[in-house]
Protein backbone atom coordinates (compact mmCIF):
# COMPACT_ATOMS: atom_id res chain seq x y z
CA UNK A 1 0.00 0.00 0.00
CA UNK A 2 1.14 3.51 -0.78
CA UNK A 3 1.69 5.90 2.09
CA UNK A 4 -0.91 8.66 2.43
CA UNK A 5 1.85 11.28 2.20
CA UNK A 6 3.02 9.79 -1.09
CA UNK A 7 -0.49 10.02 -2.46
CA UNK A 8 -0.77 13.62 -1.28
CA UNK A 9 2.50 14.44 -3.06
CA UNK A 10 1.22 12.74 -6.19
CA UNK A 11 -1.84 15.02 -6.07
CA UNK A 12 0.25 18.11 -5.34
CA UNK A 13 2.32 17.40 -8.40
CA UNK A 14 -0.68 16.66 -10.62
CA UNK A 15 -2.42 19.85 -9.48
CA UNK A 16 0.52 21.93 -10.69
CA UNK A 17 0.14 20.33 -14.11
CA UNK A 18 -3.50 21.30 -14.61
CA UNK A 19 -3.71 23.60 -17.62
CA UNK A 20 -6.44 26.07 -18.51
CA UNK A 21 -6.70 28.52 -21.40
CA UNK A 22 -4.85 31.82 -20.92
CA UNK A 23 -7.90 33.80 -21.94
CA UNK A 24 -10.14 35.19 -20.45
CA UNK A 25 -7.59 35.71 -17.69
CA UNK A 26 -10.09 36.63 -14.98
CA UNK A 27 -11.91 33.37 -15.53
CA UNK A 28 -8.94 31.03 -15.30
CA UNK A 29 -6.31 32.76 -13.14
CA UNK A 30 -8.41 32.42 -9.97
CA UNK A 31 -8.44 28.65 -10.55
CA UNK A 32 -4.65 28.44 -10.48
CA UNK A 33 -4.63 30.82 -7.54
CA UNK A 34 -7.00 28.90 -5.27
CA UNK A 35 -5.47 25.54 -6.19
CA UNK A 36 -2.01 26.87 -5.38
CA UNK A 37 -3.08 27.59 -1.81
CA UNK A 38 -2.45 23.95 -1.13
CA UNK A 39 -4.05 22.35 1.88
CA UNK A 40 -3.80 18.73 2.83
CA UNK A 41 -5.43 17.41 -0.38
CA UNK A 42 -7.19 14.95 1.90
CA UNK A 43 -10.19 14.29 -0.36
CA UNK A 44 -8.28 13.35 -3.52
CA UNK A 45 -5.76 11.41 -1.43
CA UNK A 46 -8.63 9.37 0.02
CA UNK A 47 -9.81 8.59 -3.48
CA UNK A 48 -6.37 7.32 -4.47
CA UNK A 49 -6.03 5.43 -1.19
CA UNK A 50 -9.26 3.53 -1.78
CA UNK A 51 -8.24 2.76 -5.35
CA UNK A 52 -4.89 1.46 -4.11
CA UNK A 53 -6.45 -0.64 -1.34
CA UNK A 54 -8.63 -2.46 -3.84
CA UNK A 55 -5.68 -3.13 -6.12
CA UNK A 56 -6.29 -0.43 -8.71
CA UNK A 57 -3.80 1.68 -10.65
CA UNK A 58 -3.35 4.89 -8.69
CA UNK A 59 -1.98 6.76 -11.72
CA UNK A 60 -5.13 6.03 -13.69
CA UNK A 61 -7.23 7.33 -10.81
CA UNK A 62 -5.46 10.69 -10.79
CA UNK A 63 -7.94 12.59 -13.03
CA UNK A 64 -10.98 11.68 -10.86
CA UNK A 65 -8.91 12.50 -7.77
CA UNK A 66 -8.14 15.91 -9.28
CA UNK A 67 -11.85 16.24 -10.07
CA UNK A 68 -12.62 15.94 -6.35
CA UNK A 69 -9.95 18.54 -5.53
CA UNK A 70 -11.16 20.98 -8.20
CA UNK A 71 -14.74 20.46 -7.06
CA UNK A 72 -13.76 21.04 -3.44
CA UNK A 73 -12.01 24.28 -4.35
CA UNK A 74 -15.04 25.40 -6.35
CA UNK A 75 -17.10 25.05 -3.16
CA UNK A 76 -14.46 27.00 -1.20
CA UNK A 77 -14.45 29.81 -3.77
CA UNK A 78 -18.23 30.21 -3.60
CA UNK A 79 -18.41 29.63 0.16
CA UNK A 80 -15.90 32.45 0.69
CA UNK A 81 -18.18 34.84 -1.19
CA UNK A 82 -21.18 33.69 0.82
CA UNK A 83 -19.30 33.92 4.13
CA UNK A 84 -17.78 37.25 3.15
CA UNK A 85 -14.39 35.82 4.09
CA UNK A 86 -11.37 38.06 3.42
CA UNK A 87 -8.79 35.32 3.91
CA UNK A 88 -8.33 31.61 3.24
CA UNK A 89 -5.24 29.83 4.53
CA UNK A 90 -3.78 33.26 5.28
CA UNK A 91 -4.17 34.44 1.71
CA UNK A 92 -6.60 36.92 0.17
CA UNK A 93 -9.73 35.18 -1.08
CA UNK A 94 -10.57 35.25 -4.81
CA UNK A 95 -13.52 37.63 -4.51
CA UNK A 96 -11.29 40.06 -2.57
CA UNK A 97 -8.27 39.76 -4.81
CA UNK A 98 -10.21 39.95 -8.07
CA UNK A 99 -13.87 40.74 -7.54
CA UNK A 100 -17.07 38.97 -6.68
CA UNK A 101 -18.12 38.35 -10.26
CA UNK A 102 -14.81 36.69 -11.06
CA UNK A 103 -15.24 34.43 -8.03
CA UNK A 104 -18.78 33.44 -9.08
CA UNK A 105 -17.85 32.70 -12.68
CA UNK A 106 -14.50 31.03 -11.99
CA UNK A 107 -16.26 28.83 -9.47
CA UNK A 108 -18.87 27.92 -12.09
CA UNK A 109 -16.24 26.94 -14.61
CA UNK A 110 -14.39 24.93 -11.93
CA UNK A 111 -17.50 22.85 -11.36
CA UNK A 112 -17.62 22.11 -15.09
CA UNK A 113 -13.88 21.37 -15.15
CA UNK A 114 -14.52 19.01 -12.25
CA UNK A 115 -16.95 17.07 -14.41
CA UNK A 116 -14.47 17.00 -17.27
CA UNK A 117 -11.81 15.47 -15.01
CA UNK A 118 -14.28 13.06 -13.44
CA UNK A 119 -15.20 11.80 -16.90
CA UNK A 120 -11.66 10.52 -17.47
CA UNK A 121 -12.62 6.99 -16.47
CA UNK A 122 -13.36 3.86 -18.44
CA UNK A 123 -16.63 3.89 -20.37
CA UNK A 124 -18.08 1.03 -18.34
CA UNK A 125 -17.63 3.05 -15.12
CA UNK A 126 -18.63 6.47 -16.46
CA UNK A 127 -22.27 6.50 -15.37
CA UNK A 128 -21.60 4.85 -12.02
CA UNK A 129 -18.86 7.33 -11.15
CA UNK A 130 -20.80 10.38 -12.32
CA UNK A 131 -23.90 9.30 -10.37
CA UNK A 132 -21.82 9.26 -7.19
CA UNK A 133 -20.23 12.59 -8.08
CA UNK A 134 -23.67 14.15 -8.70
CA UNK A 135 -25.01 12.92 -5.36
CA UNK A 136 -21.92 14.19 -3.58
CA UNK A 137 -22.08 17.58 -5.26
CA UNK A 138 -25.79 18.09 -4.51
CA UNK A 139 -25.18 17.00 -0.92
CA UNK A 140 -22.48 19.63 -0.43
CA UNK A 141 -24.76 22.37 -1.80
CA UNK A 142 -27.57 21.28 0.51
CA UNK A 143 -25.16 21.21 3.46
CA UNK A 144 -23.90 24.71 2.72
CA UNK A 145 -27.47 26.02 2.48
CA UNK A 146 -28.39 24.42 5.82
CA UNK A 147 -25.24 25.83 7.43
CA UNK A 148 -26.28 29.32 6.29
CA UNK A 149 -29.86 28.72 7.46
CA UNK A 150 -28.58 27.75 10.90
CA UNK A 151 -26.69 31.03 11.31
CA UNK A 152 -29.95 32.92 11.78
CA UNK A 153 -31.68 30.26 13.87
CA UNK A 154 -31.34 29.67 17.61
CA UNK A 155 -33.46 26.53 17.72
CA UNK A 156 -31.26 24.14 15.73
CA UNK A 157 -31.54 20.58 17.05
CA UNK A 158 -28.69 18.08 17.32
CA UNK A 159 -30.11 15.80 14.64
CA UNK A 160 -30.39 18.75 12.25
CA UNK A 161 -26.80 19.64 13.00
CA UNK A 162 -25.60 16.10 12.32
CA UNK A 163 -27.63 16.08 9.10
CA UNK A 164 -25.96 19.33 8.03
CA UNK A 165 -22.35 18.33 8.76
CA UNK A 166 -22.97 14.98 7.12
CA UNK A 167 -23.91 16.77 3.90
CA UNK A 168 -21.46 19.63 4.10
CA UNK A 169 -18.39 17.69 5.15
CA UNK A 170 -18.79 13.94 5.50
CA UNK A 171 -20.49 13.09 2.19
CA UNK A 172 -17.49 14.21 0.12
CA UNK A 173 -15.14 12.01 2.12
CA UNK A 174 -17.46 9.06 1.62
CA UNK A 175 -17.90 9.92 -2.05
CA UNK A 176 -14.16 10.17 -2.65
CA UNK A 177 -13.56 6.78 -1.06
CA UNK A 178 -16.47 5.25 -2.96
CA UNK A 179 -15.26 6.49 -6.34
CA UNK A 180 -11.70 5.42 -5.59
CA UNK A 181 -12.78 1.95 -4.50
CA UNK A 182 -14.81 1.42 -7.68
CA UNK A 183 -11.89 2.56 -9.80
CA UNK A 184 -9.80 0.04 -7.87
CA UNK A 185 -12.18 -2.76 -8.71
CA UNK A 186 -14.45 -2.92 -5.64
CA UNK A 187 -17.99 -4.21 -6.10
CA UNK A 188 -20.93 -1.98 -5.15
CA UNK A 189 -21.30 -3.63 -1.75
CA UNK A 190 -17.73 -2.83 -0.73
CA UNK A 191 -18.00 0.61 -2.32
CA UNK A 192 -21.04 1.37 -0.15
CA UNK A 193 -19.24 0.08 2.93
CA UNK A 194 -16.14 2.19 2.41
CA UNK A 195 -18.38 5.21 1.75
CA UNK A 196 -20.13 4.43 5.03
CA UNK A 197 -16.74 4.22 6.73
CA UNK A 198 -15.70 7.58 5.29
CA UNK A 199 -18.94 9.35 6.07
CA UNK A 200 -19.02 8.27 9.69
CA UNK A 201 -15.34 8.99 10.13
CA UNK A 202 -16.00 12.44 8.68
CA UNK A 203 -18.75 13.03 11.25
CA UNK A 204 -16.49 11.90 14.08
CA UNK A 205 -13.73 14.15 12.79
CA UNK A 206 -16.05 17.18 12.61
CA UNK A 207 -17.26 16.57 16.16
CA UNK A 208 -13.64 16.29 17.30
CA UNK A 209 -13.04 19.65 15.62
CA UNK A 210 -15.94 21.16 17.57
CA UNK A 211 -14.47 19.82 20.81
CA UNK A 212 -10.94 21.00 20.02
CA UNK A 213 -12.15 24.56 19.49
CA UNK A 214 -12.48 24.80 23.28
CA UNK A 215 -10.61 21.86 24.69
CA UNK A 216 -7.67 21.62 22.31
CA UNK A 217 -4.29 23.12 23.12
CA UNK A 218 -3.74 26.22 20.97
CA UNK A 219 -0.01 25.51 20.61
CA UNK A 220 -0.77 22.19 19.04
CA UNK A 221 -3.58 23.22 16.69
CA UNK A 222 -2.59 26.76 15.87
CA UNK A 223 -6.13 28.00 16.30
CA UNK A 224 -7.48 30.57 18.69
CA UNK A 225 -9.25 28.82 21.56
CA UNK A 226 -12.97 29.52 21.42
CA UNK A 227 -13.08 30.88 17.88
CA UNK A 228 -16.42 29.13 17.40
CA UNK A 229 -17.76 30.71 20.60
CA UNK A 230 -16.69 34.20 19.56
CA UNK A 231 -18.43 33.86 16.18
CA UNK A 232 -21.54 32.16 17.63
CA UNK A 233 -20.97 29.17 15.40
CA UNK A 234 -23.66 26.55 15.88
CA UNK A 235 -21.43 23.68 16.94
CA UNK A 236 -22.38 20.46 18.65
CA UNK A 237 -21.22 22.02 21.92
CA UNK A 238 -23.46 25.08 21.65
CA UNK A 239 -26.52 23.26 20.37
CA UNK A 240 -26.29 20.53 22.97
CA UNK A 241 -25.60 23.02 25.77
CA UNK A 242 -28.75 24.94 24.85
CA UNK A 243 -30.59 21.61 25.15
CA UNK A 244 -29.04 20.75 28.53
CA UNK A 245 -29.04 24.22 30.09
CA UNK A 246 -31.45 25.25 32.87
CA UNK A 247 -33.27 28.56 32.72
CA UNK A 248 -30.44 30.67 34.15
CA UNK A 249 -27.81 29.02 31.95
CA UNK A 250 -30.00 29.49 28.87
CA UNK A 251 -30.39 33.17 29.68
CA UNK A 252 -26.63 33.50 30.16
CA UNK A 253 -25.89 31.73 26.86
CA UNK A 254 -28.40 33.87 24.98
CA UNK A 255 -26.97 37.01 26.56
CA UNK A 256 -23.55 36.19 25.08
CA UNK A 257 -24.96 35.04 21.75
CA UNK A 258 -26.96 38.25 21.34
CA UNK A 259 -24.28 40.62 22.67
CA UNK A 260 -23.23 43.02 19.92
CA UNK A 261 -20.15 44.20 21.79
CA UNK A 262 -18.19 42.03 24.16
CA UNK A 263 -14.75 41.16 25.44
CA UNK A 264 -13.77 38.02 23.53
CA UNK A 265 -11.87 36.44 26.38
CA UNK A 266 -14.71 37.02 28.82
CA UNK A 267 -17.20 35.55 26.39
CA UNK A 268 -15.10 32.44 25.82
CA UNK A 269 -14.60 31.98 29.58
CA UNK A 270 -18.25 32.46 30.40
CA UNK A 271 -19.58 30.14 27.68
CA UNK A 272 -16.89 27.54 28.40
CA UNK A 273 -17.95 27.75 32.04
CA UNK A 274 -21.50 26.76 31.08
CA UNK A 275 -20.21 24.05 28.76
CA UNK A 276 -18.27 22.63 31.71
CA UNK A 277 -21.22 22.84 34.10
CA UNK A 278 -23.62 21.03 31.74
CA UNK A 279 -20.79 18.58 30.89
CA UNK A 280 -21.26 18.95 27.17
CA UNK A 281 -17.72 17.81 26.39
CA UNK A 282 -18.62 14.32 27.54
CA UNK A 283 -21.75 14.32 25.35
CA UNK A 284 -19.77 15.43 22.31
CA UNK A 285 -17.10 12.81 22.94
CA UNK A 286 -19.77 10.15 23.25
CA UNK A 287 -21.26 11.20 19.93
CA UNK A 288 -17.82 11.32 18.34
CA UNK A 289 -17.03 7.81 19.58
CA UNK A 290 -20.40 6.59 18.36
CA UNK A 291 -19.65 7.73 14.79
CA UNK A 292 -16.08 6.47 14.95
CA UNK A 293 -17.49 3.15 16.09
CA UNK A 294 -19.92 3.09 13.14
CA UNK A 295 -17.01 3.80 10.83
CA UNK A 296 -15.07 0.84 12.25
CA UNK A 297 -18.11 -1.42 12.02
CA UNK A 298 -18.47 -0.63 8.31
CA UNK A 299 -14.75 -1.18 7.84
CA UNK A 300 -14.91 -4.67 9.35
CA UNK A 301 -17.52 -5.74 6.81
CA UNK A 302 -15.44 -4.73 3.80
CA UNK A 303 -14.13 -7.65 1.80
CA UNK A 304 -10.43 -6.78 1.91
CA UNK A 305 -7.33 -8.58 3.23
CA UNK A 306 -6.64 -7.94 6.92
CA UNK A 307 -3.53 -5.95 6.04
CA UNK A 308 -5.55 -3.48 3.98
CA UNK A 309 -8.16 -3.13 6.68
CA UNK A 310 -5.38 -2.42 9.17
CA UNK A 311 -4.21 0.36 6.89
CA UNK A 312 -7.68 1.92 7.05
CA UNK A 313 -7.83 1.45 10.84
CA UNK A 314 -4.44 3.14 11.22
CA UNK A 315 -5.59 5.96 8.99
CA UNK A 316 -8.74 6.45 11.07
CA UNK A 317 -6.72 6.36 14.28
CA UNK A 318 -4.30 8.94 12.91
CA UNK A 319 -7.22 11.30 12.36
CA UNK A 320 -8.80 10.71 15.73
CA UNK A 321 -5.90 10.61 18.20
CA UNK A 322 -5.14 14.33 18.17
CA UNK A 323 -4.54 15.06 21.85
CA UNK A 324 -7.04 17.37 23.46
Amino acid sequence: MRELQDLQLLIDNAVTQLKYPPYPAELYEPIYYILSMGGKRMRPALLLMACDLFGGDVEKALPPALAIEVFHNFTLMHDDIMDNAPLRRGKTTVHERWNQNAAILSGDVMLIEGYKLMMQVEDRLLRIILDIFNDTAVGVCEGQQLDMDFETRNDVKIDEYIYMIRLKTAVVLGGALKIGSILGGADMKDAELIADFGENLGLAFQLQDDILDIYGSPEKFGKQVGGDIISNKKTYLLIKSLELADEAQTAELNKWINAKEFDSQLKVEAVTGIYNTVQVKQCAENAMHEYAEKAFEALEKINLPEENKQYLRDFADSLMVREH
Copy 2:
Protein backbone atom coordinates in the same frame (compact mmCIF):
# COMPACT_ATOMS: atom_id res chain seq x y z
CA MET B 1 -42.03 16.99 -38.49
CA ARG B 2 -43.37 18.47 -35.28
CA GLU B 3 -44.17 22.17 -35.21
CA LEU B 4 -41.78 24.29 -33.15
CA GLN B 5 -44.67 25.55 -31.03
CA ASP B 6 -45.66 21.97 -30.22
CA LEU B 7 -42.13 21.27 -29.07
CA GLN B 8 -42.13 24.42 -26.96
CA LEU B 9 -45.38 23.31 -25.34
CA LEU B 10 -43.90 19.89 -24.68
CA ILE B 11 -41.01 21.59 -22.88
CA ASP B 12 -43.31 23.92 -20.96
CA ASN B 13 -45.22 20.95 -19.71
CA ALA B 14 -42.12 18.94 -18.81
CA VAL B 15 -40.64 21.92 -16.95
CA THR B 16 -43.67 22.05 -14.66
CA GLN B 17 -43.08 18.40 -13.80
CA LEU B 18 -39.49 18.84 -12.61
CA LYS B 19 -39.33 17.90 -8.93
CA TYR B 20 -36.75 18.90 -6.36
CA PRO B 21 -36.56 18.15 -2.63
CA PRO B 22 -38.65 20.42 -0.39
CA TYR B 23 -35.70 21.05 1.91
CA PRO B 24 -33.60 23.22 2.14
CA ALA B 25 -36.28 25.55 0.78
CA GLU B 26 -33.92 28.41 -0.08
CA LEU B 27 -31.88 26.09 -2.25
CA TYR B 28 -34.69 24.64 -4.33
CA GLU B 29 -37.51 27.23 -4.40
CA PRO B 30 -35.49 29.65 -6.57
CA ILE B 31 -35.19 26.88 -9.18
CA TYR B 32 -38.96 26.54 -9.51
CA TYR B 33 -39.24 30.31 -9.45
CA ILE B 34 -36.83 31.09 -12.27
CA LEU B 35 -38.08 28.19 -14.40
CA SER B 36 -41.66 29.42 -13.97
CA MET B 37 -40.75 32.74 -15.57
CA GLY B 38 -41.14 30.98 -18.88
CA GLY B 39 -39.54 32.48 -21.93
CA LYS B 40 -39.59 30.98 -25.38
CA ARG B 41 -37.75 27.77 -24.39
CA MET B 42 -35.91 28.17 -27.69
CA ARG B 43 -32.82 26.19 -26.69
CA PRO B 44 -34.56 23.00 -25.55
CA ALA B 45 -37.01 23.29 -28.46
CA LEU B 46 -34.06 23.35 -30.87
CA LEU B 47 -32.71 20.21 -29.25
CA LEU B 48 -36.04 18.42 -29.75
CA MET B 49 -36.36 19.82 -33.28
CA ALA B 50 -32.97 18.39 -34.30
CA CYS B 51 -33.82 15.04 -32.73
CA ASP B 52 -37.12 14.99 -34.63
CA LEU B 53 -35.52 15.98 -37.95
CA PHE B 54 -33.13 13.03 -37.75
CA GLY B 55 -35.96 10.65 -36.95
CA GLY B 56 -35.45 10.30 -33.21
CA ASP B 57 -38.02 9.93 -30.45
CA VAL B 58 -38.74 13.40 -29.14
CA GLU B 59 -40.13 12.08 -25.86
CA LYS B 60 -36.87 10.28 -25.11
CA ALA B 61 -34.96 13.50 -25.80
CA LEU B 62 -36.96 15.45 -23.23
CA PRO B 63 -34.54 15.03 -20.28
CA PRO B 64 -31.53 16.38 -22.23
CA ALA B 65 -33.74 19.18 -23.56
CA LEU B 66 -34.68 20.02 -19.97
CA ALA B 67 -30.98 19.86 -19.10
CA ILE B 68 -30.32 22.65 -21.61
CA GLU B 69 -33.17 24.70 -20.17
CA VAL B 70 -32.06 24.19 -16.56
CA PHE B 71 -28.47 25.00 -17.55
CA HIS B 72 -29.61 28.15 -19.37
CA ASN B 73 -31.54 29.29 -16.31
CA PHE B 74 -28.52 28.61 -14.10
CA THR B 75 -26.56 31.05 -16.27
CA LEU B 76 -29.38 33.60 -16.04
CA MET B 77 -29.49 33.31 -12.25
CA HIS B 78 -25.76 33.93 -11.91
CA ASP B 79 -25.65 36.56 -14.69
CA ASP B 80 -28.37 38.53 -12.88
CA ILE B 81 -26.19 38.68 -9.76
CA MET B 82 -23.18 39.74 -11.81
CA ASP B 83 -25.17 42.37 -13.73
CA ASN B 84 -26.87 43.55 -10.55
CA ALA B 85 -30.20 43.17 -12.37
CA PRO B 86 -33.33 43.83 -10.30
CA LEU B 87 -35.75 42.38 -12.84
CA ARG B 88 -35.94 39.54 -15.35
CA ARG B 89 -38.93 39.25 -17.65
CA GLY B 90 -40.62 41.85 -15.46
CA LYS B 91 -40.21 39.78 -12.30
CA THR B 92 -37.91 40.25 -9.33
CA THR B 93 -34.63 38.41 -9.83
CA VAL B 94 -33.68 35.59 -7.47
CA HIS B 95 -30.91 37.48 -5.67
CA GLU B 96 -33.34 40.34 -5.03
CA ARG B 97 -36.29 38.20 -3.97
CA TRP B 98 -34.26 35.88 -1.75
CA ASN B 99 -30.67 37.05 -1.34
CA GLN B 100 -27.40 36.82 -3.17
CA ASN B 101 -26.20 33.71 -1.39
CA ALA B 102 -29.37 31.83 -2.31
CA ALA B 103 -28.88 32.84 -5.95
CA ILE B 104 -25.26 31.66 -5.97
CA LEU B 105 -26.01 28.32 -4.35
CA SER B 106 -29.27 27.61 -6.21
CA GLY B 107 -27.44 28.34 -9.42
CA ASP B 108 -24.70 25.91 -8.45
CA VAL B 109 -27.18 23.15 -7.74
CA MET B 110 -28.97 23.90 -11.04
CA LEU B 111 -25.75 23.28 -12.93
CA ILE B 112 -25.46 19.90 -11.21
CA GLU B 113 -29.14 19.15 -11.87
CA GLY B 114 -28.44 20.02 -15.50
CA TYR B 115 -25.81 17.29 -15.62
CA LYS B 116 -28.20 14.83 -13.98
CA LEU B 117 -30.80 15.49 -16.67
CA MET B 118 -28.24 15.41 -19.46
CA MET B 119 -27.12 11.99 -18.27
CA GLN B 120 -30.54 10.51 -19.03
CA VAL B 121 -29.40 9.20 -22.40
CA GLU B 122 -28.37 5.76 -23.62
CA ASP B 123 -25.05 4.48 -22.28
CA ARG B 124 -23.48 4.42 -25.74
CA LEU B 125 -24.17 8.17 -26.16
CA LEU B 126 -23.37 9.27 -22.62
CA ARG B 127 -19.77 10.39 -23.15
CA ILE B 128 -20.44 11.99 -26.53
CA ILE B 129 -23.37 14.00 -25.21
CA LEU B 130 -21.59 15.07 -22.03
CA ASP B 131 -18.50 16.16 -23.97
CA ILE B 132 -20.66 18.49 -26.05
CA PHE B 133 -22.44 19.73 -22.93
CA ASN B 134 -19.09 20.43 -21.21
CA ASP B 135 -17.78 22.39 -24.18
CA THR B 136 -21.00 24.36 -24.40
CA ALA B 137 -21.01 25.14 -20.70
CA VAL B 138 -17.38 26.27 -20.63
CA GLY B 139 -18.03 28.41 -23.72
CA VAL B 140 -20.92 30.22 -22.06
CA CYS B 141 -18.78 30.98 -18.98
CA GLU B 142 -15.98 32.33 -21.17
CA GLY B 143 -18.47 34.43 -23.14
CA GLN B 144 -19.95 35.90 -19.97
CA GLN B 145 -16.46 36.77 -18.67
CA LEU B 146 -15.54 38.47 -21.95
CA ASP B 147 -18.83 40.38 -21.94
CA MET B 148 -17.98 41.71 -18.48
CA ASP B 149 -14.40 42.51 -19.54
CA PHE B 150 -15.73 44.52 -22.48
CA GLU B 151 -17.85 46.73 -20.21
CA THR B 152 -14.74 48.47 -18.93
CA ARG B 153 -12.90 48.61 -22.25
CA ASN B 154 -13.30 51.14 -25.04
CA ASP B 155 -10.97 49.43 -27.50
CA VAL B 156 -12.96 46.26 -28.22
CA LYS B 157 -12.50 45.11 -31.82
CA ILE B 158 -15.15 43.59 -34.05
CA ASP B 159 -13.49 40.18 -34.12
CA GLU B 160 -13.36 40.15 -30.32
CA TYR B 161 -17.02 41.06 -30.21
CA ILE B 162 -17.95 38.25 -32.60
CA TYR B 163 -15.83 35.84 -30.55
CA MET B 164 -17.69 36.91 -27.40
CA ILE B 165 -21.25 36.63 -28.76
CA ARG B 166 -20.34 33.32 -30.36
CA LEU B 167 -19.43 31.95 -26.93
CA LYS B 168 -22.07 33.70 -24.89
CA THR B 169 -25.05 33.14 -27.18
CA ALA B 170 -24.40 31.12 -30.31
CA VAL B 171 -22.54 28.12 -28.88
CA VAL B 172 -25.54 26.99 -26.81
CA LEU B 173 -27.80 27.05 -29.86
CA GLY B 174 -25.26 24.99 -31.79
CA GLY B 175 -24.78 22.67 -28.82
CA ALA B 176 -28.52 22.10 -28.37
CA LEU B 177 -28.93 21.23 -32.06
CA LYS B 178 -25.87 18.99 -31.98
CA ILE B 179 -27.04 17.02 -28.96
CA GLY B 180 -30.55 16.71 -30.39
CA SER B 181 -29.27 15.51 -33.74
CA ILE B 182 -27.11 12.82 -32.12
CA LEU B 183 -30.04 11.65 -30.01
CA GLY B 184 -32.01 11.49 -33.25
CA GLY B 185 -29.42 9.25 -34.86
CA ALA B 186 -27.23 11.72 -36.81
CA ASP B 187 -23.62 10.78 -37.41
CA MET B 188 -20.87 13.10 -36.15
CA LYS B 189 -20.49 14.79 -39.52
CA ASP B 190 -24.12 15.85 -39.67
CA ALA B 191 -24.04 16.72 -35.97
CA GLU B 192 -21.13 19.11 -36.61
CA LEU B 193 -22.94 20.61 -39.58
CA ILE B 194 -26.16 21.29 -37.72
CA ALA B 195 -24.10 22.78 -34.86
CA ASP B 196 -22.40 25.00 -37.43
CA PHE B 197 -25.82 25.98 -38.78
CA GLY B 198 -27.05 26.85 -35.28
CA GLU B 199 -23.95 28.77 -34.26
CA ASN B 200 -23.91 30.95 -37.36
CA LEU B 201 -27.65 31.49 -37.19
CA GLY B 202 -27.17 32.52 -33.56
CA LEU B 203 -24.55 35.08 -34.59
CA ALA B 204 -26.80 36.45 -37.33
CA PHE B 205 -29.68 36.65 -34.85
CA GLN B 206 -27.56 38.53 -32.29
CA LEU B 207 -26.41 41.02 -34.94
CA GLN B 208 -30.03 41.50 -35.97
CA ASP B 209 -30.81 42.21 -32.32
CA ASP B 210 -28.08 44.86 -32.25
CA ILE B 211 -29.54 46.49 -35.36
CA LEU B 212 -33.13 46.36 -34.10
CA ASP B 213 -32.15 48.23 -30.93
CA ILE B 214 -31.94 51.37 -33.07
CA TYR B 215 -33.63 50.55 -36.33
CA GLY B 216 -36.47 48.33 -35.15
CA SER B 217 -39.97 49.65 -34.60
CA PRO B 218 -40.70 49.87 -30.88
CA GLU B 219 -44.36 48.87 -31.36
CA LYS B 220 -43.29 45.64 -32.95
CA PHE B 221 -40.51 44.63 -30.59
CA GLY B 222 -41.71 46.12 -27.34
CA LYS B 223 -38.30 47.45 -26.49
CA GLN B 224 -37.19 50.99 -25.90
CA VAL B 225 -35.41 52.31 -29.00
CA GLY B 226 -31.73 52.86 -28.24
CA GLY B 227 -31.62 50.94 -24.96
CA ASP B 228 -28.15 49.70 -25.91
CA ILE B 229 -27.01 53.27 -26.60
CA ILE B 230 -28.30 54.55 -23.27
CA SER B 231 -26.46 51.79 -21.36
CA ASN B 232 -23.25 52.09 -23.47
CA LYS B 233 -23.56 48.44 -24.46
CA LYS B 234 -20.71 47.38 -26.71
CA THR B 235 -22.77 46.27 -29.69
CA TYR B 236 -21.66 45.69 -33.24
CA LEU B 237 -23.00 49.16 -34.10
CA LEU B 238 -20.99 50.98 -31.45
CA ILE B 239 -17.76 49.05 -31.95
CA LYS B 240 -17.87 49.37 -35.73
CA SER B 241 -18.80 53.05 -35.54
CA LEU B 242 -15.77 53.72 -33.36
CA GLU B 243 -13.71 52.02 -36.06
CA LEU B 244 -15.29 54.05 -38.87
CA ALA B 245 -15.57 57.42 -37.15
CA ASP B 246 -13.31 60.36 -37.98
CA GLU B 247 -11.72 62.41 -35.20
CA ALA B 248 -14.71 64.66 -34.57
CA GLN B 249 -17.16 61.76 -34.60
CA THR B 250 -14.95 59.77 -32.23
CA ALA B 251 -14.83 62.71 -29.83
CA GLU B 252 -18.61 63.04 -30.02
CA LEU B 253 -19.15 59.32 -29.39
CA ASN B 254 -16.74 59.33 -26.45
CA LYS B 255 -18.42 62.41 -25.01
CA TRP B 256 -21.73 60.53 -24.89
CA ILE B 257 -20.15 57.30 -23.66
CA ASN B 258 -18.40 59.08 -20.81
CA ALA B 259 -21.25 61.41 -19.89
CA LYS B 260 -22.40 60.69 -16.34
CA GLU B 261 -25.59 62.71 -16.69
CA PHE B 262 -27.45 63.08 -19.93
CA ASP B 263 -30.87 63.33 -21.53
CA SER B 264 -31.59 59.83 -22.84
CA GLN B 265 -33.44 60.97 -25.93
CA LEU B 266 -30.69 63.44 -26.89
CA LYS B 267 -28.05 60.74 -26.44
CA VAL B 268 -29.93 58.26 -28.60
CA GLU B 269 -30.50 60.87 -31.29
CA ALA B 270 -26.90 62.05 -31.31
CA VAL B 271 -25.36 58.58 -31.37
CA THR B 272 -27.87 57.37 -33.96
CA GLY B 273 -26.90 60.40 -36.03
CA ILE B 274 -23.29 59.26 -36.06
CA TYR B 275 -24.33 55.68 -36.79
CA ASN B 276 -26.23 57.00 -39.81
CA THR B 277 -23.38 59.18 -41.01
CA VAL B 278 -20.81 56.38 -40.87
CA GLN B 279 -23.42 54.03 -42.39
CA VAL B 280 -22.89 51.37 -39.77
CA LYS B 281 -26.32 49.82 -40.29
CA GLN B 282 -25.20 48.60 -43.70
CA CYS B 283 -22.02 47.10 -42.21
CA ALA B 284 -23.99 45.30 -39.55
CA GLU B 285 -26.49 43.99 -42.08
CA ASN B 286 -23.65 42.77 -44.27
CA ALA B 287 -22.15 40.91 -41.33
CA MET B 288 -25.56 39.53 -40.39
CA HIS B 289 -26.14 38.26 -43.91
CA GLU B 290 -22.66 36.77 -43.99
CA TYR B 291 -23.38 34.65 -40.92
CA ALA B 292 -26.86 33.75 -42.13
CA GLU B 293 -25.24 32.67 -45.39
CA LYS B 294 -22.75 30.50 -43.52
CA ALA B 295 -25.63 28.94 -41.64
CA PHE B 296 -27.41 28.10 -44.90
CA GLU B 297 -24.20 26.73 -46.41
CA ALA B 298 -23.80 24.33 -43.50
CA LEU B 299 -27.45 23.39 -43.78
CA GLU B 300 -27.11 22.43 -47.44
CA LYS B 301 -24.35 19.95 -46.60
CA ILE B 302 -26.42 18.08 -44.02
CA ASN B 303 -27.46 14.63 -45.11
CA LEU B 304 -31.23 15.01 -44.63
CA PRO B 305 -34.25 14.74 -46.98
CA GLU B 306 -35.08 17.96 -48.81
CA GLU B 307 -38.29 18.30 -46.79
CA ASN B 308 -36.38 18.34 -43.50
CA LYS B 309 -33.88 20.86 -44.81
CA GLN B 310 -36.77 23.06 -45.88
CA TYR B 311 -38.07 22.90 -42.32
CA LEU B 312 -34.69 24.22 -41.09
CA ARG B 313 -34.64 26.91 -43.80
CA ASP B 314 -38.13 28.03 -42.82
CA PHE B 315 -37.12 28.08 -39.19
CA ALA B 316 -34.06 30.22 -39.98
CA ASP B 317 -36.17 32.56 -42.12
CA SER B 318 -38.73 32.91 -39.33
CA LEU B 319 -35.96 34.12 -37.04
CA MET B 320 -34.43 36.51 -39.54
CA VAL B 321 -37.37 38.17 -41.27
CA ARG B 322 -38.38 40.42 -38.39
CA GLU B 323 -39.11 43.67 -40.22
CA HIS B 324 -36.89 46.58 -39.35
